[in-house]
């Protein structure tokens, strides 16, 4: 039986690994490798965000009538995360370790508390409340790929 929480949790984990890979490259001041790893991380995050914003959040809002509430907060945090990833990009372009780790420190905390809210509260609520949970889980799995 497909449920939403483990699929999205596993993809969070995958994104965390990609983020750490980019940090390792930055720590070694290998900016070319860092650029490659950062692109992978940014792409994976974008896939995750699109899956939530296109599929999960609309289904949750439809089945709970909770428009403009928790999902809006999650969308706002997605934007904040996108801005921080852009700051990481700029730091890599400038080959600045200080700027990179300043942005990555901020991003690590923001991502972790964002994921904690999703995994602890939102995904279980989605599994509980969304009527076509299995179909949606399957579509999410297709979006976030074989990582789930």
């Amino acid at each position: 039986m497909n449920t939403i929480k483990p699929i999205m949790e596993t993809h969070h984990e995958h994104c965390d690994h990609l983020f750490a890979d980019a940090e390792h490259a930055a720590s070694a001041r290998d900016w070319n490798a860092c650029r490659v790893q950062l692109t992978r991380f940014a792409e994976a995050m974008e896939v995750h965000f699109r899956a939530e914003e296109d599929l999960l959040f609309p289904a949750f809002e439809r089945d709970t009538n909770a428009i403009g509430g928790p999902t809006e907060v999650m969308r706002t945090e997605h934007e904040q995360i996108r801005e921080l990833i852009a700051s990481l990009d700029a730091a890599v372009a400038a080959a600045s370790g200080d700027d990179f780790f300043g942005a990555s420190d901020t991003l690590a905390i923001l991502m972790e508390q964002h994921n904690r809210k999703e995994e602890g509260i939102l995904y279980p609520m989605c599994d509980d409340r969304i009527s076509d949970r299995e179909g949606l889980a399957e579509r999410l799995k297709q979006r976030v790929g074989g990582r789930a």
Partner: protein
């Protein structure tokens, strides 16, 4: 559901900040008193030792705990404290004045100050604990930090009640002997409040700061209640020697596991905050090894003070600094971002060089504090270093807040 994730429920910046900022002068005052205490540190019963202990616990630790609690419970556990601004106004002034009076009352043997300080600290802490416990009971989120936080808050309630009774008795009031137990006050304060709260925070922030694996599920579920049972057994005297040994084994187990998780962190870079964590965990392990050994010593008087230094300066002071250096810069970024102001990334709020300077001074203060019960000149050095370290921290935080206000001003100017 809505209120669980609505960011607007997170408290205004001023709410946690006032507690976190007030904590620091208490630690500075403890440093100054330590520097002047001479051979009074030969025993934990001297007026200097008692005042320093309460500046660090009822002042520094309690204020820092309130700040972290008011920020972390809504954001990480989903428990929104009711009317946080009003609650902060009701709790913060009496807790601050009470902390000062309590330490002054212990130092000066002043009955009115002991009474006023004890009552103010106890009532403000009880009000905060009641509000937080109510919020935690209402949230539908069911994570292990929530359970640990509830146990820690119950620990705080018992700590302040036992402490108030002792303060009133010292001030000359007649109270039943059954509630006058320094041993129970100390065990419940260090372990049921302090260590359980540290666990609750660790479950949240250790994976968050360093991207470590999560604490094992069974550890998160069973450690806080098991620790609570062991503390109750030890503090009540039901199974005192065995309970104490179990408690110390549990404390060492928590510290060892956290060190192990930090070794498996995914993030490559370590910073001053991480080093503060390592000092705290190493000190906790040393304290857990020393505490049971006190029972076998012919005269443990001075070693008891060493235990206090390991617990308060090595353990709680270090871990609170580690948290402040992450929480405050993150909140600056978060609130600027929320206001649409030009962002400040975390390293732009408090420079890493400032935090590293504080770290070095703090480590030196701890090293000097260890022989201080036997060699008074070390107490003077440890005290001056403790004062200097927290002064560096205060200057760093003040600089960060100036930058925050300047950026807020830029946003208002643009508007």
């Amino acid at each position: 559901m809505r209120e669980l994730l609505t960011f607007e429920q997170a408290p205004p910046f001023s709410v946690p900040l006032r507690f976190l900022l007030t904590a620091i002068p208490f630690a500075m005052a403890a440093g100054l008193l330590l520097a002047l205490s001479g051979d009074a540190l030969a025993t934990r019963w001297s007026r200097e030792s008692l005042a320093i202990t309460h500046l660090m616990t009822a002042g520094f630790m309690l204020q820092a705990m309130c700040g972290a609690l008011m920020q972390l419970t809504p954001v990480a556990i989903g428990a929104n404290l009711p009317r946080p601004r009003l609650l902060a106004w009701l709790v913060h002034p009496p807790m601050t004045i009470g902390g000062i009076c309590l330490a002054a009352g212990l130092f000066l043997h002043s009955a009115p100050m002991l009474t006023a300080g004890g009552l103010a600290v106890a009532l403000s802490a009880l009000l905060l604990a009641a509000a937080a416990l109510t919020s935690l009971a209402r949230t539908p989120a069911r994570n292990h930090s929530r359970q640990a936080m509830r146990i820690a808050l119950v620990g705080l309630v018992f700590t302040v009640i036992l402490g108030l009774a002792l303060a009133l008795a010292r001030a000359g009031f007649e109270l039943p002997a059954t509630i006058l137990s320094v041993a129970a006050h100390l065990r419940v304060g260090w372990l049921l409040w302090g260590l359980t709260l540290l666990c609750a925070a660790s479950f949240m922030v250790v994976p968050m700061f360093q991207m470590t694996p999560a604490y094992p599920e069974h550890f998160q579920r069973w450690f806080p209640p098991l620790l609570a049972l062991a503390v109750v057994a030890a503090a009540s005297g039901i199974a005192a020697p065995l309970g104490d040994i179990l408690v110390c084994a549990l404390a060492a187990g928590y510290a060892g596991l956290t060190l192990r998780l930090q070794q498996r962190r995914r993030r490559p870079r370590t910073d001053a905050s991480f080093a503060f964590w390592r000092i705290a965990l190493a000190s906790t392990m040393l304290a857990a090894a020393l505490a049971p050994a006190l029972g076998w010593m012919a005269d443990p008087t001075r070693a008891e003070v060493l235990l206090g230094a390991l617990v308060l300066l090595g353990g709680f002071d270090s871990v609170i600094c580690a948290m402040i250096y992450k929480i405050v810069p993150f909140l600056v970024w978060l609130h600027l971002s929320r206001a649409g102001a030009p962002p400040l990334l975390m390293h732009q709020v408090i420079p890493e060089s400032t935090m590293r300077l504080h770290l070095r001074i703090h480590a030196a203060a701890l090293l000097f504090s260890l022989p201080a019960p036997w060699w008074p000149p070390c107490a003077a050095a440890a005290g001056l270093l403790l004062f200097a370290g927290h002064s560096v921290q205060a200057v760093g935080l003040a600089g960060g807040l100036r930058r925050y206000l300047r950026h807020r001003g830029m946003e208002q100017g643009a508007a």
